[in-house]
């Protein structure tokens, strides 16, 4: 893959929500990095903390009740968490941009696409003339594959379909040629044929513009088709990290394994789906031991008591599971390392 610079590094990030029913550690000590021009996926089920992670990076965690209580988020070696709101505003859009699941709620229904696009451009490119901004907007709309871009400048968001709106959002995110694009479930609200178009667009833009993409999704199919590297989250923690091929060929954490086996495959019929027993835990509900222990078929004594560390199982693969603790192997004497 060649040595690529790290553009974004998250170190020991903790984002906690202070609610009436107590403190909820939505993101609980997570570490990861995004390299220049790569597509990194974060997968997990609802409540695993994947969206809060992205909001933390953008400085958009609703506070109160949310608060980043610890850690660092380094963008080109500058800690975003130490920045003032003014400085942060310069980072957002200029260096790190974000697109969301539902494009309709991210666009203002009262203004035309042209209005909103040029506004974004003029905010970031001080001193540009209106005309220059309009030209740039049309150029961007064309870049994201919208036909009749010049006419679309006069349209209102409700006149566009869901797929077109998401393209407009992507165009807007690209206004300042960001180094990192965070896409939080960008295709979840779209139909499959439209999803395929948007994913292709994101891959194309990633290669053409060399923008690093942090793709947050619950869909393992989307991950397999789009990402280079994957982080699997569960109950606020990273439980596995590996290149995409490794995750699917050799998933290590019992949760990752279970998740992959739970998906009905379109290519052949499985007699019966594997299913992980129990429910996704509410954030903060598990205080002791491994958070997956209650649903894990391999769980042993130690899993109930201690929270496993993220063990390095190869130079590119990390897993948060005692089954991979080389020093603690004697503790799981009755459980062998079974690979299914």
């Amino acid at each position: 893959m060649g040595e690529r610079k790290t553009v974004l590094q998250v170190k020991d990030l903790q984002t906690t929500f202070f609610t009436d029913s107590g403190e909820i550690p939505a993101v609980d000590h997570i570490d990861f990095h995004v390299k220049e021009g790569e597509i990194l996926g974060i997968v997990g089920e609802s409540g695993c903390g994947k969206s809060v992670t992205s909001l933390s990076i953008m400085g958009l965690v609703p506070k109160p009740p949310g608060k980043i209580v610890g850690g660092e988020i380094l963008f080109e070696d500058k800690d975003l968490l130490k920045m003032t709101e003014r400085q942060m505003r310069r980072i957002r859009g200029n260096d790190i941009a974000m697109i969301f699941q539902e494009p309709m709620t991210s666009l203002n229904p009262l203004f035309t696409i042209g209005n909103q696009m040029t506004e974004a451009i003029l905010i970031h490119e001080k001193g540009w003339s209106k005309k220059k901004a309009v030209n740039r907007a049309v150029e961007l709309l064309e870049l994201v594959g919208l036909p009749r871009a010049a006419e679309m400048m006069r349209d209102y968001p409700h006149q566009l379909s869901g797929g077109m709106r998401q393209r407009v959002m992507i165009a807007m995110a690209l206004v300042c040629d960001p180094k990192v694009l965070i896409a939080d479930e960008p295709t979840t609200a779209l139909d499959v044929t439209i999803q395929a178009q948007i994913l292709k667009l994101m891959r194309d833009l990633n290669t053409r513009l060399d923008t690093a993409v942090l793709l947050i999704t619950h869909d393992l199919g989307v991950v397999a088709e789009t990402c280079e590297r994957v982080i699997v989250m569960y109950a606020g923690q990273i439980i596995e990290e590996a290149p995409v091929k490794k995750i699917f060929e050799d998933p290590q954490h019992p949760y990752t394994k279970g998740l992959i086996q739970s998906i009905p495959d379109m290519r052949y019929k499985k007699e019966r789906l594997y299913s992980i027993p129990g429910n996704v835990p509410k954030p903060g509900s598990i205080k002791q031991g491994c958070r997956f222990a209650a649903r894990c078929e391999f769980a042993f004594d130690r899993c109930q008591k201690e929270n496993p560390a993220l063990y390095e199982t190869s130079d590119v693969h990390d897993t948060r599971c005692f089954l991979y603790d080389k020093e603690g192997v004697e503790m799981n004497d009755n459980k062998t390392l079974v690979k299914s």
Binding site: E45, S46, S161, G163, M164, D191, V192, T193, I194, Q195, A196, Q197, L199, K200, H218, D219, L220, G221, V222, V223, A224, E225, T226, V244, K245, F248, E249, G258, L259, I260, S262, I263, P264, D265, M266, R267, K269, K270, R272, L273, Y274, S275, I276, P277, N279, V280
Partner: protein, 337 residues
Amino acid sequence: MTTKPLLKVENLKKYFPVKKGLLGKTVGYVKAVDDVSFYVNEGETLGIVGESGCGKSTTGRMLMRLLEPTEGKVEFDGKDLTSLTSEEMRKTRRDIQMVFQDPYASLNPRHTIEKILEEPLVVHGIDNSKERKKKVREFLEIVGLSAYHAKRYPHQFSGGQRQRIGIARALMTNPKLIIADEPVSALDVSIQSQVLNLMQDLQKDFNLTYIFIAHDLGVVRHISDRVGVMYLGKMVEIAESEQLYAQPLHPYTKALLSAVPVPDPNHQKEQILLEGDIPNPANPPSGCTFHTRCPAKMDICMKAIPKLFEQYSGHSVACHLYSELSGNDIKQMEGSL
């Protein structure tokens, strides 16, 4: 498996009027479901797939007459449901039950689970109070919950558990047919597989027939014996599930299948990327409604509406590529059009 059709749908249509102006003059129709025919055999699962706005949910609702069909016949167990009075229909609903997508919106938050599950029995006057309560507990266990859950309220359950309750409610009246409209699409993957397995077990135990409406092609393949694909209010292809996924005929089905992301980075596939969006159903394209996006479009597709016909045994498709007409016929038709 018997091969007697339990449900037969013929030329079902639902046109919603588009009203405009102060007097509410009807200026046109949205053809939400346009001339759809299919059957479901006893004990089998028919999957209906399609993207948003294709009419799959409207079809499901019309089968129960939660929506009145504009035209067409729904024959269930030998009776034509469209000709029943509303009182007769109400009684028939004992045999046809529905499971909805959002288990939170379909359970009354002010009622206990016991009351929710008991209600269909009360409505249909089945059993006395004591027997009903016993039955509620029995069915809670059947769907994988516990008898003590009866006294709780919907908000105390997770999404997956609520969907189990939704399924239990549908089972209470001992129905023959269950129409499930996107029953697992609001659930996380690990919970989705639990609910799918439960539905398969129940089908065996209670000899149920399912109509499973969903947009997720993987889920539909997993659970269905036969699958119908809808596009803009029309059934464009219907076949045995194995057959449909291995050898799709309609260009839309092909594109749809190729668009689904496969959870395997080594999977090599030829992706057919459809251009453009689904057209507005209020103003559908002429001829074959798919012609605006179809990679195999011919002249005739803009003019004539293709009919659904059986290309191979049990495999029907509505596409001019497979038209029963010979090339000469098509030429003649084009000349006359």
